[in-house]
């Protein structure tokens, strides 16, 4: 049998398709990527079989951290600015336009309204380092209720979601839910991660 001759020389492959694909993927990931705002807490959310996606806009998100602190955020700069003005009116505080702007572009926060001014005067790095005490939700001194109310007045379309850490204990969750129920918010969302619907249960009619 004739020997197969090895082709010597620089092996060159046409890399064009690969590069095309690489760029396609880069474009895809760049366009789908969303910048995650740096939040003071990142709750480890529990998983559920629910498959309802979170609306991206008009959301109040009440985060509950692992150590049972409550944080609050609402999206929309105008909503936030309007909300802050209303809160300032209730608590007899006054915020400078700079502070208002700072507040409008901020993410979630967990400081009582009394120390909000001091919190806003800090710069970004200092804020990040600060251990925020959480928003008071006790029945005697419930600032969360005011925040929720003012946010809803500023943006009537807003919906409420609770983003709780799996290890947060139930009493604080109950307090938050009670706060909402006191304000006649009986419908809200719990933010959860995904989990597969157990296959053996799929024989039953899956709830829509």
């Amino acid at each position: 049998m004739a020997k197969v001759k090895m082709h010597r020389g620089t092996p060159s492959i046409d890399m064009t398709p690969m590069v095309d694909l690489a760029f396609l993927l880069v474009t895809f990931f760049m366009l789908t990527a969303t910048a995650t705002p740096d939040e003071p807490v990142q709750p480890a959310i529990p998983s559920s079989v629910s498959e309802i996606p979170i609306p991206e806009r008009d959301m109040i998100i009440i985060s509950i951290s692992k150590d049972n602190k409550v944080f609050f955020t609402v999206d929309g700069q105008f909503t936030r600015a309007a909300m802050l003005q209303k809160m300032a009116g209730i608590y007899n505080l006054s915020f400078t336009p700079e502070e208002e702007h700072d507040f409008a572009v901020m993410t979630s926060f967990g400081v009582p309204v009394g120390s909000l001014q001091q919190f806003l005067s800090m710069d970004r790095e200092e804020r990040k380092k600060l251990e925020q005490p959480g928003i008071p939700v006790d029945s005697l001194h419930n600032e969360l209720a005011d925040w929720v109310l003012q946010a809803r007045l500023s943006n009537p379309k807003v919906r409420i979601a609770i983003k709780g850490d799996g290890d947060a204990t139930y009493p604080v969750v109950k307090k938050v839910i009670n706060t909402l129920m006191d304000r006649k918010v009986n419908r809200f969302n719990l933010i959860t991660g995904d989990e597969k619907f157990p296959t053996e249960m799929k024989l039953d009619k899956k709830p829509s």
Partner: protein, 171 residues
């Protein structure tokens, strides 16, 4: 200055036409491709594929003072009490119930729920939670309601009686 006239205008003076160089138009694309892959890797690694979902929950309206609580047949009531260490206690009825403790696994609470759901017609599930329970447990139990297709359930506060009952729970 002299150099400039020598370079640009010099050739023109001589009358010869300026010829554009006919070199290949190939450029070395290696750095660009390197960068493309770098970006690709970055975006792949930072992207989050699973977006969080939400679970809709509707709570009943707070009863006004003077409202009578609705009466239910105690035999139709299954009470679940969320306990610590990811355990859940359950009992049927109200008077001297037999309290059992199970976990959140497939063979734990789900088995109980499926069984009771088929045994009891129009079963009502009351979800109570002790202060030591975690938020995760709460979400899990609501999830089980969805999975087991239980339509009638309510989240209520635990009573001191429940706390006592849980202590006596057996496996």
């Amino acid at each position: 200055m002299a150099e400039i006239s020598q370079g640009g205008g010099g050739g023109h003076k001589k009358g010869g036409k300026v010829r554009s160089k006919k070199t290949s138009t190939r450029i070395d694309m290696t750095p660009m491709v390197d960068l493309a892959f770098l970006l690709l890797t970055f975006f792949i690694l930072t992207t989050t594929l699973s977006k969080p979902q939400t679970m809709e929950i509707t709570m009943p309206e707070k009863p006004k003072p003077g409202d009578e609580p609705p009466e239910v047949n105690e035999k139709k009531v299954l009470t679940l009490v969320l306990d610590e260490n990811d355990k859940v206690c359950w009992y049927v009825g109200i008077k001297d119930p037999e309290v059992k403790r199970v976990d959140f696994s497939k063979d734990g609470i789900r088995k109980v729920l499926i069984q009771k759901n088929s045994e009891i017609r129009d079963m009502i599930v009351l979800i109570k939670s002790l202060d030591v329970a975690k938020f995760k447990n709460f979400v899990d139990i609501l999830d089980e309601m969805t999975i087991c297709n239980i339509k009638r359930y309510a989240v209520v506060d635990a009573t001191p009686v429940d706390k006592e009952l849980v202590k006596e729970a057996t496996l």
